[in-house]
């Protein structure tokens, strides 16, 4: 009788098998490790930059988003935004900034576990981290859309500036400002991690799928009982 735990963990590989096919069985683990390192590193790196260029700010205004913080000339940008009635950027993605780091740590733990799970359940543990960069950008876009479309109608420049959707990546513009939004090193690392994880999944399935099938076939045959 195969227990639930065994069903999830999947078949174990004999040590001799591992040593004869070290690349085949080692690859998923190594790739998962790389992804974990990339994601952990990204915690300390900026995820997103926004530069605002205007004549009277020769050095531009800079804003940097980390998973848990917003830094740079945020107060200055907020000060300017009040003219068009945009809420303070500190009010955006508050929950995300609180839980972001914990989610990332959870991902790392899940990837750690995934290395021990040889069934298709591993996909469930890996997939969230794969989609993380996309989710980050979609969330960012939704916040910017929300802020840009919900301007205070009583702001000084309400008549001059219509609600708009700021650009989450790439060039945009508002008033005399050109905005340039670029991904930060952290987001790039997380994106690389996504691809590494996809590769890890591929090698994972290539190594363990035959074993799972073999076990299932064995379990199905009456003689084994």
């Amino acid at each position: 009788m195969v227990s639930i735990v065994d069903r999830i963990l999947g078949p174990r590989v004999e040590p001799e098998e591992v040593s004869t096919h070290s690349l085949r069985y080692g690859a998923p683990g190594v790739l998962l490790l790389i992804a974990r390192v990339l994601l952990l590193t990204s915690l300390f790196l900026p995820y997103w930059h926004m530069e605002l260029q205007a004549p009277q700010y020769p050095d531009g205004l800079h804003m940097t988003a980390f998973l848990n913080a917003l830094t740079g000339d945020v107060a200055e940008i907020d000060g300017l935004n009040h003219y068009i009635g945009m809420r303070s950027l500190y009010e955006a993605a508050e929950i995300e900034r609180i839980v972001g780091v914990f989610i990332m740590i959870a991902f790392v733990v899940m990837l750690e576990l995934a290395a021990y799970i040889h069934t298709r359940w591993a996909v469930l543990l890996i997939a969230p981290a794969v989609f993380f960069p996309v989710v980050f950008l979609v969330d960012l876009h939704l916040w910017m859309r929300h802020f840009g479309l919900n301007l205070d109608p009583h702001a000084p420049l309400s008549n001059a500036v219509k609600p708009f959707v700021p650009t989450a990546l790439g060039k945009g513009g508002i008033g005399q400002f050109v905005t340039v939004a670029t991904p930060g090193t952290g987001l790039i690392l997380a994106t690389v991690a996504s691809f590494v994880l996809i590769a890890a999944l591929y090698f994972h399935r290539r190594a363990y799928l035959p074993l799972v099938k073999q076990r299932n076939a064995t379990a199905a045959s009456p003689t084994s009982a």
Binding site: A75, G79, L80, Y83, P156
Partner: protein, 661 residues
């Protein structure tokens, strides 16, 4: 104007960088031929174009040096960039100045600290700025300036370029002999000039010799607090000569300072009674007296308590000074202006206006003469006079009306010639001599200046390590140099290039100074300053250079009526609104109006101006100020931001409504 082909090519090389920097981006088609065309049209010579190329700064490029010039009876400091000779800004000191919001609600208390004899006095006569020094070199931290008319000394912090302290000398009323600092800014030297009775009490001039006093004050500077510490300061009584410009010794002469004097004749004037006027009486003798004062010894005497309290201030009396050997005199050419110590401290250069020589004294010889008591006598107050010939190293005939001397890095000295209207370059001897091609102690060259030069300032030219490169001639008259500006003409500050040796020392630029009369100036390498572009934190009190915990903050704005019927207004300013905008007061309320500029952007300064109440403040980013007044006039007063801060600047206003009793 005659540019030949070869000159043109030379020009092309010289001006190529200029052309590339200035025009490349916008007009790639321009060439040196266009420069020649412009030069031809405007009648510019090759030398003119070279001068232009040496001084022109394209937009955005910054000056290499800053010149801090006194403003004369404008009572301010003026700061000029070199080599562009652009006036960068003024620093309000003794005179209220509305653009900086100085003396119209903010700074009033500092100005009032200096009121002479308790009387309101809203101007000054600034003469000799002194940058703070470390080991005899400018350190870019503080600036001091004297006020000749009322004997006051001001301290300016060079982090925010604001006056922090004005201190009134309790003993004397004029201090042409200030300010000069000792090599580590231990003391700021302030020489009293026109003798008066102590504290300018009344005494008829017939009692001049008995009642009128000469003095020098040593103000102790507390660098940590950025203030003069009056409790650690003292004065030395001197004969009632008019002690004039000074300079602190350094290196070889460290521990001493030197001070010129006029009117050693003790003339008392009286032209109205057919007596010789001061101009004649005070110039009768061929020599006046150089004062040589041992300040390190004087400090010990002060610390040992050998002082008399006069006007509540400790004074080492002349008697004590003589008993302790603090003071020696030696003859100097009459009517002297500058006494300037050479970079190594070994020579002291003095020019007397009525003597065509510069006279160079040797510190080594002075020390020997003091030790061996080589006196030629004593003056009538018993002060020993060192024998002139025993202490003089050299005399060089430089021209008519020599005034002030500055130094280069290469063994050259420069002396202004008032009557000749020229700047003389001459060579130092001793260990300096080997670095000049000309022999020691020789006049090398004179460059005409326009006109009547007073002081000159060379880049770091009075420090232990002069930079050379630039020299500014601070000319008193401009006569025909500029478009007539009415009968009152601007001063002419001329920039000279002293980077070459020998006779090449051309004038590069004329700067009209139409806002004051700079006397002395000091030129410091701009990168030595650590200037703030915004105050370090929001809620900064510039007077204490720290956060004011009571400063209004965003979301804490309010009008608070206290039990004693005084009112505290806590207001913030940010583009483009004050908060609160409605202020209701009752006639007679005592008001403390606290305002914080919460901006962090460079240059986001807000003004705060209230009509009728004579209030205007300049709030730089982060600054918090408190303005106190009594709301004695009822009415409706629109207050507003007086600095064009933003697109909605006109809307940055509010109403002060004072309800009548």
């Amino acid at each position: 104007m005659n540019i030949k082909w070869s000159t043109g090519r030379r020009l092309a090389v010289l001006l190529a960088p200029l052309a590339m920097c200035g025009f490349a981006a916008t007009a790639g088609a321009q060439s040196m031929r266009d420069v020649e065309t412009v030069a031809k049209d405007r009648g510019l010579t090759t030398a003119d174009l070279i001068a232009a190329a040496k001084t022109y700064l394209p937009s955005g490029q910054k000056d290499e040096y800053l010149m801090f010039a006194s403003g004369g009876h404008a009572g301010q400091i003026f700061v000029v960039g070199l080599p562009s000779m652009r006036l960068l800004r003024s620093i309000a000191v003794f005179t209220p100045e509305p653009w900086q919001g100085w003396g119209f609600g903010v700074g009033d208390k500092i100005i009032a600290e200096g009121f002479p004899n308790g009387k309101s006095n809203l101007w000054g006569d600034t003469h000799h700025p002194a940058l703070s020094e470390t080991k005899g070199d400018y350190d870019g931290q503080f600036l001091f300036i004297n006020d000749k008319i009322n004997a006051r000394v001001a301290v300016i912090d060079l982090r925010d370029w604001e006056t922090k302290q004005i201190i009134k000398n309790p003993l004397t009323l004029s201090d042409h002999g200030g300010t000069f600092v000792t090599p580590n800014t231990e003391y700021i030297i302030e020489g009293g000039q026109y003798a008066t009775p102590w504290g300018s009490d009344y005494a008829p001039i017939s009692e001049y010799k008995e009642q009128y006093k000469g003095s020098v004050t040593l103000w102790k500077f507390d660098r940590n607090r950025g203030r003069i510490d009056k409790t650690q300061s003292f004065a030395i009584e001197l004969p009632p000569y008019w002690q004039d410009l000074s300079d602190a010794g350094k290196l070889a002469s460290d521990g001493f300072f030197f001070m010129n004097s006029l009117n050693t004749e003790l003339a008392t004037g009286g032209i109205q009674d057919k007596k010789p006027p001061f101009e004649a009486g005070a110039s009768r003798n061929a020599t006046d007296f150089l004062h040589i004062i041992d300040w390190k010894k004087a400090e010990q005497v002060f610390k040992a308590g050998k002082v008399e309290q006069i006007k509540g201030f400790p004074v080492i009396t002349l008697k004590t000074a003589l008993a302790e050997g603090l003071l020696h005199l030696t003859p100097e050419p009459r009517s002297p202006h500058g006494v300037d110590v050479a970079p190594k401290g070994d020579f002291i250069v003095i020019s007397g206006k009525l003597d065509p020589h510069v006279t160079i004294y040797s510190m080594e010889k002075i020390k020997q003469a003091i030790t061996s008591r080589t006196y030629s006598g004593t003056d009538e107050f018993g002060v020993p006079i060192l024998d002139f010939d025993s202490v003089v190293e050299a005399r060089i005939e430089v021209g008519l009306g020599p005034l002030h001397t500055q130094f280069g890095p290469d063994g050259y000295a420069y002396t202004s010639l008032y009557l000749d209207s020229a700047v003389a370059r001459w060579t130092l001897g001793g260990s300096y001599g080997s670095s000049t091609p000309e022999p020691d102690w020789t006049l090398v060259h004179k460059t005409p200046v326009h006109y009547n030069v007073g002081h000159i300032a060379a880049a770091e030219g009075d420090t232990v390590s002069p930079d050379g490169k630039y020299l500014v001639s601070l000319n008193k008259w401009s006569v025909d140099r500029f478009v007539p500006t009415g009968p009152l003409l601007p001063q002419n500050l001329q920039l000279l290039d002293i980077s070459d040796d020998g006779t090449n020392m051309p004038v590069l630029y004329d700067m009209a100074m139409g806002v004051g009369e700079p006397h002395y100036a000091q030129i410091i390498k701009a990168d030595k300053l650590n200037t703030w572009t915004v105050y370090p934190e929001v809620g900064w009190d510039p007077h204490v250079q720290n956060i004011n915990p009571m400063a209004p903050k965003p979301k804490m704005e309010r009008v608070q009526r206290n039990d004693d019927n005084s009112v505290d207004i806590y207001m913030t300013a940010i583009r483009s609104h004050f908060n609160p905008e409605h202020i209701y007061l009752k006639q007679g309320d005592t008001v403390r109006w606290h305002i914080t500029n919460t901006e962090r952007a460079v240059d986001a300064t807000h003004g705060f101006a209230v009509p009728v109440y004579n209030i205007t403040a300049s709030l730089e980013p982060g600054e918090s100020v408190t303005i106190e007044f009594v709301a004695d006039t009822p009415g409706t007063f629109p207050f507003y931001c007086s600095e064009f801060c933003s697109a909605l600047h006109l809307e940055m206003m509010g109403y002060l409504m004072v309800e009548p009793k």
